[in-house]
């Protein structure tokens, strides 16, 4: 019965459906995209390794968050100008302390935040530069060399480049190869400097620039070379520590924090929870915005159904005259709303997944397409529609049959 009345009002039904669909598509699309982002980042965080602790200057979480936003977290390529004075506070003394502590296998310092440009085949490339030691690859096992080799202790004017620098512009043409020489230009303390480097290695594609060291668009040069070129004078932006036993990593983290004053330690677990909380906020804000569109669609349904009840007053009177209970009428109108919800929700979810997959492909994130998210969207759409339809349906069911029959 409800179905037949729907087909009569195809256009209005289609509009309602569209409203709900857009709302659902927005919610589903945004959530699946942020979940995909979360997966991506979590998997990249995984390469920190469960036995690795990263020590960075600054105290506690608040400063960690601040420094990661400034691009101080090793390897990130933010920050328009390089300002070594405020980001580096770790030095050889800290290395010394760490190397003497028990339960530590390996201590690897690193500097990041350097910026520079070079010209290759007529194109100017802008890169972020990290300073690393020959032990770097022992601790960052996920960074693998695609071509060439890792750093050697004796290396000076050499560079390991990120994948996207070797194969920029979607890899159509190789711009840099092992053995090539480039001139890196930067400004340090308002002075222009140039460094000649020879490419010795190309990193495998990692998918983004997040993570320790590397990143697809950065240079990794020997720590000493970095210090001389950027004039950082023995200060590090991070020290990576490998624990002997991953089970005692929390305890070790505490010990390090106590031993070195004014530092924060990041374990993969902590980093993940940080990412989770940031992305959680992003997700909440985005779905809140998307939720508003669902709300608007709900108001549209209230409107349409109220009009529909008014138009069908006489019909409701007839239904009651031939024996329909108020609850039958209520159910009839509500089932229209539920059908709008099911159809709109399902289409919206599908459309949302399509959208997030499409956008995800474009920005390089694999959108999370899950049945549970689709189901939740559907449920949410149905609930929205039922709530919106409740009042008009209640009004319809409570019409006095005599008056309803008399209406035109």
């Amino acid at each position: 019965m409800a179905f037949e009345s729907l087909s009569e009002r195809k256009f209005r039904f289609a509009l309602n459906l569209l409203g709900i669909m857009i709302g659902c598509a927005a919610v589903t699309g945004l959530i699946s995209l942020t979940q995909g982002m979360n997966n991506e980042i979590t998997s990249q965080m995984g390469i920190l390794g469960t036995s690795t602790i990263t020590v960075i200057p600054g105290t506690r979480l608040s400063s960690m968050l601040a420094s990661s936003q400034e691009g101080g977290f090793m390897g990130s390529s933010g920050g328009s100008s390089f300002n070594p004075a405020t980001t580096s506070e770790l030095d050889w003394r800290d290395i010394d302390i760490l190397e003497k502590m028990h339960g530590i296998d390996l201590v690897v310092p690193g500097v990041s935040g350097g910026q520079g440009t070079y010209i290759r085949k007529g194109v100017t490339f802008s890169v972020s530069v990290d300073g690393i030691t020959d032990r770097y690859f022992e601790i960052n096992e996920a960074d693998e060399i695609l071509e060439g080799r890792e750093l050697l202790r004796s290396d000076k004017a050499v560079v390991i480049i990120g994948y996207s620098l070797a194969y920029p512009f979607d890899g159509e043409e190789q711009y840099l190869d092992v053995g090539d020489r480039i001139k890196l230009t930067t400004k340090v303390n308002k002075k222009e400097k140039t460094l000649s480097l020879r490419v010795v290695g190309i990193l495998e594609e990692s998918g983004s620039s997040i993570g320790p060291g590397g990143g697809d668009e950065s240079f990794m040069i020997p720590l000493r070379t970095y210090e001389q070129f950027f004039e950082t004078g023995g200060e590090y932006t991070s020290i990576q520590v490998k624990a002997v036993d991953p089970d005692f990593i929390d305890q070790l983290s505490d010990e390090i924090e106590d031993a070195l004053e004014g530092v924060s330690v990041i374990t993969s677990e902590l980093a993940m929870s940080m990412v989770d909380s940031i992305l959680g906020t992003v997700e909440a804000v985005l779905s809140g915005i998307a939720g508003i569109s669902l709300l608007v669609a709900g108001v549209g349904i209230i409107n349409t159904m109220t009009v529909s009840v008014m138009e069908r007053t006489r019909e409701i009177g007839v239904l009651k005259a031939i024996g329909a209970r108020s609850s039958d009428v209520l159910f009839m109108f509500l089932s229209e709303a539920v059908m709008t919800g099911i159809a709109g929700g399902a289409m919206g979810a599908v459309f949302g997944f399509m959208l997030s997959t499409f956008v995800g492909n474009y920005v390089g994130v694999t959108a999370e397409v899950s049945l549970s998210l689709g189901t939740i969207t559907l449920l949410f759409a149905v609930i929205t529609c039922v709530i919106s339809g409740l009042y008009p349906a209640w009004r319809a069911s409570n019409l006095n049959p005599v008056e309803a029959l008399r209406s035109e």
Partner: protein, 229 residues
Amino acid sequence: MSSIIETVDLVKEYSQGEKSLRVLKGINMKVEEGDFMAIMGPSGSGKSTLLNMIGALDKPTSGTVLIRGVDISTLSDNQLADLRSKEIGFIFQFFNLISRMKALGNVELPMVIAGVPRRERRERASKLLEMVGLGERMHHRPMELSGGEQQRVAIARALVNDPAVLLCDEVTGNLDSKTGQDIMQLMRNLNNEQGKTFVLITHDPVVAQSTDRLVTLHDGEIIGEKRVW
């Protein structure tokens, strides 16, 4: 003969702001099984209100309406709805068919509400449509039917749950006289052959004269009652 419907001192008032308007002023009336009766009166005489009362669509202000011996003022809204579903068949002046449903669907509708299984619904509805002479047109929508045909559909709809009484509100008022006569004849046949009970309200003396019993209403009171035959 037992009374299907009986009213005792039936009063209905409508409040209009401060004042109340007394539409029915103590009606005592009986509808017997197998009756083919008319309630006649000018507009405003209260005949529609009376029809709503004996059709359990509305409750009296005072007095009682007994339908098959049950005082409707003691019933809940749901019980009233069920009573209408089983015992009452309404036929309206403007047919009041659901325009988007085919004739068959319209006739099935009261059975949908009453919870009759689909197969039985289809069977009963088709049979009734054939009986009212619409066997060929049951898959047409109301818009595709003439006024007389629409009223036949409405009669089939009213009959479908085999009610105790059919209440007809100016059923010929929207039809030309020839078609009106056909409809009257159809109802008369149903009364004669199947013993269906009919109460017609009308202001048309021709219609009134073709019934067995005539109750005349004026200004909320019965002013005359006679056997036509």
